[in-house]
């Protein structure tokens, strides 16, 4: 193995430098969330001289954080579930069937990943308004509108990655299933999906993180009824004060579920990315 002295020095340097780069902001976030307001407004100190947990209590009152939390959770979970299901079906089609328009589909879907959000932000808004006027279905200012929007954000990447993943699963497996009397959907359900579990998990994580962290569309498409955390957090700077300690506390709390989820499933994410991207 490559445990020469040179490599060990190199590794130590990389670990220290990058470790600090990663850790310092996290440290600042955590410690500042436990300082009183007057301390975060004054000169920075590495160690909080007055430790307090008040920001974690006050933050729920300064803005309706709990409501935003619920909104973000519902929107992200629903967007993830639908996005993954739709991506599985589409990826299965792309991976297992030859059909007219396959190339057009793949190219178009993948290229939508390239669209700058600002280009279709206002048009999408207008379209939602029109749908509402002609069908009565309320999409602006509702969680449903956000779910539909967000699930498509992760769709192209998910389809592409899952198709790559499905490609890596030997066709002999689903053919065996067909012989056993399953239809193609049965083969997908009983053979391909179980084998592709890491890929599916990876795609789900990606979708969830996309929805949880989206800012641009949330800034225009949300009202008080469906406001998500990404824009809700801005409200800690009010007309009278910027509550930095509460901002840090809230940022910490809203990050914990995604970070833990991601870290727990990171192995699958890595495996999924590998299968989708490598080859």
């Amino acid at each position: 193995m490559r445990d020469t002295k040179g490599f060990k020095i190199y590794r130590a340097v990389v670990l220290v430098v990058l470790g600090l780069f990663v850790l310092v902001p996290l440290y600042v976030m955590v410690t500042s969330s436990m300082k009183p307001l007057s301390d975060v407004q004054g000169a920075f100190t590495w160690w909080p001289s007055n430790l307090t947990l008040d920001p974690f209590v006050d933050m729920w009152r300064t803005v309706p954080l709990a409501r935003y939390f619920v909104n973000s959770t519902i929107v992200s979970v629903a967007a993830t579930v639908f996005s993954v299901m739709i991506a599985i079906l589409a990826a299965f089609a792309v991976s297992r069937f030859r059909f007219r328009g396959r190339t057009v589909f793949s190219t178009t879907v993948l290229s939508t990943q390239m669209f700058p959000g600002v280009l279709f932000l206002l048009p999408l808004f207008l379209i939602f308004v029109n749908i509402n006027n002609s069908t009565g279905l309320q999409l602006v200012g509702t969680r449903l509108g956000l779910i539909i929007t967000y699930l498509t954000f992760s769709l192209p990447f998910s389809i592409w990655m899952l198709a790559g993943y499905f490609d890596s699963i030997p066709r002999e497996l689903d053919e065996a299933a067909l012989v056993d009397g399953c239809g193609p959907m049965g083969a997908l359900w009983r053979v391909v999906l179980p084998a592709a579990r890491p890929g599916v998990i990876a795609v789900a994580i990606y979708s969830f993180m996309t929805a949880w962290g989206e800012v641009l569309f949330a800034s225009v498409m949300t009202t008080e009824a469906n406001r998500t955390l990404s824009v809700g957090l801005r409200q800690y700077s009010t007309q009278t004060n910027v509550y930095w300690n509460q901002i840090m506390a809230a940022a910490l709390v809203v990050s914990i579920p995604v970070v833990i989820g991601f870290l727990l499933a990171q192995r699958h994410f890595v495996a999924g990315v590998t299968a989708g991207a490598v080859k």
Partner: protein
């Protein structure tokens, strides 16, 4: 429209799929505001208090009283300033609007140009109590000159120069009456070594900056738009006015360069309240912040923001919040009743204190402070020493282009550069071109 039905069809089929599995998770959200004939009003209020929640607490009993009196229910949503403009834009674009909305009064002429708002013509004006009840300068902000306003004043605000009494006394200074006295006092109270500064400026906030560009230019008797609504940004009076304000940091060095990244007035007020600076120019709703940050009411005094010797006595723009009704409201009568209620004397008195606003009504007494002298000074500024920002449709662009040009110039000064009169003129020329290009 073809597109419309195509889109609708696509949406419906897409939704069929998702709704099937979605259960009822979204059913509770349909807005109860803009439909229905049972006279429920949707009202978007701007953030005036210490937090959105605070606003809600202040407004709820006021709105309940309105419901008792009229039977009209009010659906309240409080919107932060970061979001308000975008929300109003999308409401205008979509037609999915509340019935009544608070707007920053400086946007009034710009919003009027969208034709999305109900003009307060003779009849509508009578329904809300007649135009004679308002302070004339306040009502003048309601829309373009010579038209029926599309908004009426709700909360009045005015700039004042807050000073720290103890610091002035110690230095043997009197509150300034002219610009020159103000600068001299500020210089005397500045000691960078001790991190002590004469003034704090919200020099990184484009909205604050443009207000001072306007006020300083007005003190030079200079206008930003001609009678036809064409921008005249580069006139000498404007350039000199802008430069005079920039010089507080650049030449006079009485403001901490850090101020260049103060992107809202709050930070400057905090510096004043925590006694790091001797003076701050802020609107009268600073009081609650000052007290919240530890300064006692008796420790500060207020005088009008002074003009240079020989200049025009303009101490503020006519600041504040106006109230507008969306034209497509289905509850016009109820909305008018509501506007009348909000702008009548009892409500003005009730809300004047928690929101630290000046009454927009003639002869009304300010309730935001118990200090009679302070109340009198702000009333005087608001009623006699303020001038409305340009009442033209391009006002919003004026704010963003000139304000941002000032942000950039302050940033240059703070990071060690200098800004000459020629550079100010060039920056204002760029701003003028931008306004011209998109009007």
């Amino acid at each position: 429209m073809r597109l419309r039905s195509l889109v609708a069809a696509a949406a419906v089929s897409a939704l069929g799929i998702s709704l099937a599995a979605c259960g009822g998770s979204d059913s509770g959200d349909s807005s109860g505001g803009n439909g229905g004939g049972d006279a429920t009003l949707t009202y978007w209020a701007s953030n005036q208090g210490t937090s959105l929640d605070n606003d809600k607490q202040v407004l709820t009993p006021v709105l309940e009283k309105f419901t008792q009196e009229t039977g009209v229910k009010v659906n309240l949503e409080v919107i932060g300033w970061n979001d308000l403009q975008t929300r109003i834009q999308t409401a205008i674009t979509s037609g999915q609007a509340p019935d009544v909305v608070n707007i920053g009064n400086t946007w009034a002429a710009s919003l009027q140009a969208t034709e999305a708002f109900l003009p307060f013509d003779g009849e509508a004006m009578d329904a809300i109590g007649g135009k004679d009840k308002f302070v004339p300068t306040a009502l003048a902000t309601g829309g373009k000159e010579g038209t029926d306003p599309t908004s009426v004043p709700l909360y009045g605000l005015a700039y004042g120069l807050y000073y720290n009494k103890a610091m002035f006394q110690q230095a043997g200074l009197q509150p300034p009456k002219t610009w020159e006295e103000m600068v001299a006092a500020a210089k005397k109270l500045t000691n960078p070594a001790k991190n002590q500064w004469g003034m704090a400026l919200a020099a990184g906030s484009y909205t604050e900056n443009v207000h001072f560009a306007f006020i300083n230019a007005a003190q030079n008797k200079s206008e930003w738009f001609d009678a036809d609504g064409k921008p005249t940004f580069t006139s000498d009076g404007n350039v000199q006015g802008v430069l005079r304000y920039l010089d507080l940091m650049q030449k006079d060095k009485v403001a901490n360069p850090s101020n260049a990244q103060y992107d809202n007035g709050t930070k400057a007020v905090n510096d004043f309240a925590t006694k790091k600076v001797a003076m701050v120019i802020n609107q009268n709703n600073a009081n609650s912040s000052i007290v919240a940050n530890g300064m006692k009411p008796g420790e500060y005094g207020v005088v009008p923001f002074p003009a240079p010797a020989g200049g025009e006595q303009v101490a503020s723009h006519v600041a504040g919040i106006n109230l507008s009704i969306f034209k497509n409201t289905k509850n016009k009568d109820a909305a008018l009743k509501f506007v009348k209620y909000m702008t009548d004397a009892p409500t003005q008195t009730t809300l004047g204190k928690p929101f630290a606003s000046l009454p927009v009504l003639k002869d009304a007494k300010p309730a935001f402070t118990s200090d009679a002298a302070e109340a009198a000074i702000f009333s005087d500024i608001y009623n006699t020493k303020s001038k409305p920002l340009p009442l033209v449709p391009a006002e919003d662009q004026y704010e963003s282009t000139v304000g941002k040009a000032m942000n950039a110039m302050f940033a240059k000064i703070a990071t060690g550069g200098t800004v000459t009169a020629d550079e100010v003129k060039a920056a204002l020329k760029t701003a003028e071109d931008q306004v011209a290009a998109s009007s």
